[in-house]
Structures are given as structure tokens and as C-alpha cells.
Amino acid sequence: MKSRNRISTMRRRFLALLAVFSGSLLTSRSVATGKQRQLSLHEADFYKPHDLAG
């Protein structure tokens, strides 16, 4: 479990770094803090076909 946590932190940092290089400071910040842009529920298309089981 510890190694999973470590990988997750490393991965997050990697994604943040990647986002910096791709030019999105906002994304890099959000990824680094684990807080991406959150959408209002009204922005969801409830009837969009999907392939999730359950």
C-alpha cells in the first residue's frame, strides 16, 4: 500500500510537470494539488450513452 501511495504522489508530480511543459499552469497546479476543475452537476449530460457496467 505504501508503494502505491508513493507511486501516486510521483505520478501526480510527473503529470504536473508534464502540464507545465504543455503550457497549462492552471492544469499543473490543479494536478499538483489534486484539485482539477470541478463541474456543476448541470453540466453533465445524464442521457449521454455510456458503456459503464452497473
Binding site: N5, R11, Q38, L39, H50, L52
Partner: protein, 325 residues
């Protein structure tokens, strides 16, 4: 500040400060266990109740269905792995949806129920619980679609606020759970018994995977266990596997295998056995266990014909059909 132990599921993760449990979404912040995806679903859809699948619970009704990231099992064949095998921070989409927002949306869309589904709602337990309480206050029903890998105490508590559950019995084989899901069988069986004891409407799903869980002797033991512990009236959904995620090496389940499992379950005395994931199969429909009258004709997730009486009986022989109608 120290470690915290999450007592929700049989993993009993001991989580160091700043760390996450095995499910990725229950974390230790300043010595407190926090469910990070509370009020933050990543999947929100309206589905027919038949998709859950529930065939004996308000057929044809619309279900407001939500899920957050994370799962406490890691099945190699997970169909929803992009949701379940990720933490919240890895999701492309996250919605802000407090329990009141979910209930409002479900009511606005004329849904009959709210389903906690897609990943395993066990890991967003507090969100499920609070939303369910509010949903009941507003006349909505609650559906819990789960693999049932949960401890007794939280399961009993949850049963006080949910109305129906589909529990995925992945195999009647502990080795299968250990090899393919990083879980174990016993807690799942216990959860099903608890649902029954607590009066929650229960249907069981068994996904048949070629060579891994289609051994007919094991299927027979499963069917007998369901009959003896949950009752012969418990609907069983025998579902076709298709290759996904880390299990792409196996073919889709041959239809003959599903028929063998179906026959075995019927021979064991189970009254309502369905075949799922094969569009248009005659075993998608509900038949009277007494005279075989077709009571509910389904094609895919759609109810084409409904012949039950208002109190859930066969119109020909008056046989009572178990369910919530």
C-alpha cells in the same frame, strides 16, 4: 498525529498520515479518515433499473446513477477500470454534487430511484448514506450496486437506508477472488445474507468467465448456497463476460456455457434465473415459476410487455412473484 485504520471493508487498511487506503480515495488527513470523493462523483447517468441489473424492483423505472472514482477490489476483468482503478485526482471529470444536488437532479429528471453504482459505492459510503437519507425524505428509493466486499457493521447500517441491492458474486471460489480481484469470498457471502436479513431487496449477479469460474461443480455449489441462504426466490443474473482491462486473453463466454450455468441454477431450484449481456435472449424475461407464463417481456434493458397484476402475481395462476412492484 498517527495512522488511522479504515474499518469499512475487510482490508482494514492502516493509513499513514497523508496516505490513502487501498481504494485510493479514503485518506488520512491530520490523523482523520476522510472520504475524498464525498460529493464529487465522476460518473452521473440516468439508466433503466434493468441495467443495474434489477429485474424485480419497479421494472422500467428510471434511475439516477452516480459513482465516484476508486474501488476496494482490483478485478483483472473490470469493465469500469477507468473509474474504479483510479483516484479522484486522476479523473478527467469531477462534478460538484452534494447529496441535496443529487436528490434535486433525480427529482427534476423524474427518476424513481438513485443508484450508487459503476465503481464500488462501498468506498464512498458516507456520501451514499447521506444521499440515501435525503432521498427517502423526498420519496425516492435507493439502489446499491456492489461487489459486497464490506464489513458487517457498516453493511447493516447501510441497509437501513437502501431499498434494493444487486450484489456481484464474482465466483463461488475464494481462490478466484484472491487471484483475480485481490479480495476474498466470505465477506461477500456475509453481505448478501445481511441484505436479506435486513429486508433489502436483493438480486445476485454472476459473471461467467471462460475457464476461470465456469466449472459446473462450483456453479452447482453457488446455486445451492443461494437457494439455502438467500432463498429460491432470489433472482440470479448470469452474465456474459467480454474481454476487458487486464483480462483480454480470454474469449467472450460461449452462449452454451451460459446455458449450462442457467440449467444448473434452475436444477438447484432457483426460480428466477436470467441471462445477461446477450441482447434479445429469451432468458432476459421473467416467467411464472408455476406455469411458465411470460410475465415481463424484456429486450435488452427495455420492458416490452408487463403482465403482472398490481400486487405482483401471475395473471393466469395467481402465483405470487417475489419482488418490489
Amino acid at each position: 498525529m498517527g495512522d488511522v485504520t479504515c474499518e469499512l471493508c475487510p482490508r482494514y487498511c492502516t493509513i499513514p498520515e497523508g496516505g490513502a487506503g487501498d481504494c485510493r480515495v479514503r485518506v488520512n488527513i491530520d490523523g482523520k479518515l476522510v472520504a475524498t470523493t464525498y460529493g464529487r462523483p465522476s460518473s452521473v447517468h440516468i439508466d433503466p433499473v434493468e441495467k443495474k441489473p434489477l429485474y424485480h424492483f419497479h421494472p422500467g423505472s428510471a434511475v439516477f446513477s452516480i459513482a465516484t472514482a476508486g474501488c476496494n477490489l482490483h478485478c483483472r476483468n473490470c469493465q469500469n477500470w477507468q473509474l474504479s482503478q483510479r483516484g479522484g485526482e486522476e479523473m478527467e471529470r469531477i462534478y460538484r454534487a452534494e447529496p441535496a444536488d443529487v436528490v434535486d437532479a433525480a427529482l427534476a429528471e423524474n427518476c424513481h430511484s438513485i443508484a450508487y453504482t459503476y465503481s464500488d459505492p462501498i468506498i464512498f459510503y458516507e456520501y451514499v448514506y447521506d444521499t440515501s437519507v435525503l432521498a427517502h425524505d423526498h420519496g425516492l428509493k435507493n439502489i446499491f450496486v456492489t461487489a459486497g466486499y464490506i464489513n458487517e457493521k457498516p453493511m447493516r447500517r447501510l441497509c437501513q437506508v437502501i431499498d434494493a441491492t444487486n450484489i456481484d458474486l464474482k465466483a463461488f471460489d475464494d481462490g478466484f477472488y484472491r487471484r483475480n480481484c485481490s479480495g476474498s469470498l466470505k465477506p461477500v457471502l456475509d453481505a448478501m445474507v445481511i441484505a436479506r436479513e435486513e429486508g433489502v431487496w436483493l438480486e445476485v449477479t454472476n459473471l461467467v468467465i471462460p475457464t476461470l469460474n465456469d466449472d459446473i461443480a462450483t456453479v452447482r455449489r453457488m446455486a445451492h448456497w443461494i437457494r439455502d441462504n438467500l432463498g429460491e426466490q432470489t433472482p440470479l443474473h448470469i452474465s456474459r463476460f467480454t474481454p476487458h482491462y487486464q483480462m483480454r486473453n480470454l474469449p467472450p463466454t460461449p452462449v452454451e456455457s451460459l446455458h449450462r450455468v442457467w440449467n444448473e441454477a434452475r436444477d438447484a431450484g432457483l426460480k428466477y434465473v436470467y441471462i445477461g449481456n446477450i441482447y434479445g435472449h429469451k432468458s432476459e424475461s421473467t416467467y411464472c415459476p408455476n406455469d411458465n407464463t411470460r410475465l415481463i417481456h424484456r429486450v435488452g434493458f427495455s420492458v416490452e410487455e408487463y403482465n403482472l397484476t398490481s400486487d405482483g402475481r401471475c395473471p393466469v395462476c395467481n402465483q405470487k412473484v417475489s419482488g418490489v412492484w
